[in-house]
């Protein structure tokens, strides 16, 4: 493949993800602390972050576990929470490597953030996906290990305000894409639908409903 100077590289993806390294790390710490508090081993918590690599799915697993829920209940929650990754995978598939093992490894770097960043240029970009995903993978996993090992040290991290960084990031990416009244209406409808459903449905369902509604509603 020829290198074109204005084509993003993996390092560019990593740089794009850099602004929320601290937030990702703190989220990882939080997961490690909560997991160990529920009796999950430190090694188990870290392995979970390195394999499942999904904050929402992992926290949901802990919640169901804390309620003495069954494995089936855990897997149902995880599936509902992460079903949107099917769509993320489909939307970036055309940009991934040809080799199936590389494709799978690249797809494993999908997160809400790396997916959104990889689409910033209009068409999905593999290097940005991998770079941003790797940064998030490393901070999330090392954060979990740190939290599981000595999490009690950090008492109240909310004072730093970092929990606002991720939603702010999604909002900025959304603002970049809102170019017409129709886009704005779609944004408003998506937010409203999620907020209306949130109190009545299990976690994960609101986002799935928005996804389904957006696919059906948008005229092709």
């Amino acid at each position: 493949m020829t290198t074109v100077t204005d084509q993003p590289r993996v390092i560019d993806g990593a740089r794009l993800a850099a602004p929320f390294v601290a937030a990702d790390f703190l989220d990882g710490i939080a997961f490690g602390v909560v997991a160990v508090g529920l009796g999950v081993g430190a090694v188990q918590a870290t392995v979970m972050s390195a394999t499942a690599f999904s904050g929402s799915a992992q926290f949901a697993s802990l919640t169901v576990l804390g309620d003495n829920g069954s494995l089936l209940a855990i897997l149902a929650a995880v599936t509902a929470l992460n079903a949107r990754y099917l769509v993320y995978g489909a939307s970036v598939a055309g940009a991934l490597s040809r080799n199936p093992f590389r494709r799978a490894a690249e797809a494993q770097m999908l997160t809400d953030a790396s997916w959104a960043l990889s689409l910033r240029g209009g068409r999905p970009n593999r290097a940005v996906l991998v770079g941003a995903g790797l940064v998030s993978f490393l901070t999330w996993t090392t954060g979990t290990a740190a939290g599981a090992a000595f999490g009690r040290v950090l008492d109240d991290t909310s004072a730093l305000g970092l929990d606002a960084a991720l939603p702010a990031f999604f909002l900025c990416l959304m603002l970049e894409r809102v170019r017409s009244r129709r886009d704005a209406a779609a944004a408003g409808a998506g937010a409203a639908l999620a907020l209306v459903l949130a109190p009545f449905t299990p976690a994960g369902v609101p986002l799935l409903a928005v996804l389904a509604a957006a696919v059906v509603w948008r005229p092709a």
């Binding site: 949107r84 040809r98 305000g161 606002a164 909002l171 900025c172 996804l211 696919v215």
Partner: protein, 99 residues
């Protein structure tokens, strides 16, 4: 938590990520499908923001984060800098919590 549970959760997460790329095997999506997927990006990002800022464990809940995120959006619309916007989000949220 048992290792079997951890393996099962990981299997579901990995499968959901790699299913479409492996099944599509390099073929591009039909243009109609691609356009529909494109149309999901804005509403999905909006829903992510709304859920993260305006709810806590599924219940409506507004706190300092809302101010931080709103300030970040305003800064981003003027300066178009993600780094600056995220710094403002964290800074304003922390400041409001101090009040």
């Amino acid at each position: 938590m048992t290792w079997a549970t951890i393996a099962a959760v990981a299997a579901v997460c990995v499968a959901l990520r790699i299913a479409a790329p492996l099944l599509l095997a390099g073929r591009a999506l039909p243009p109609g499908v691609e356009r529909r997927l494109d149309g999901t990006i804005v509403p999905l990002l909006a829903a992510l923001v709304a859920m993260q800022v305006l709810t806590t464990r599924g219940e409506p809940h507004v706190d300092a984060r809302a101010a931080g995120v709103a300030a970040a959006a305003a800064v981003f619309l003027v300066r178009r800098s993600l780094v600056l916007a995220l710094a403002v989000a964290a800074g304003v949220t922390a400041a409001v919590r101090l009040l």
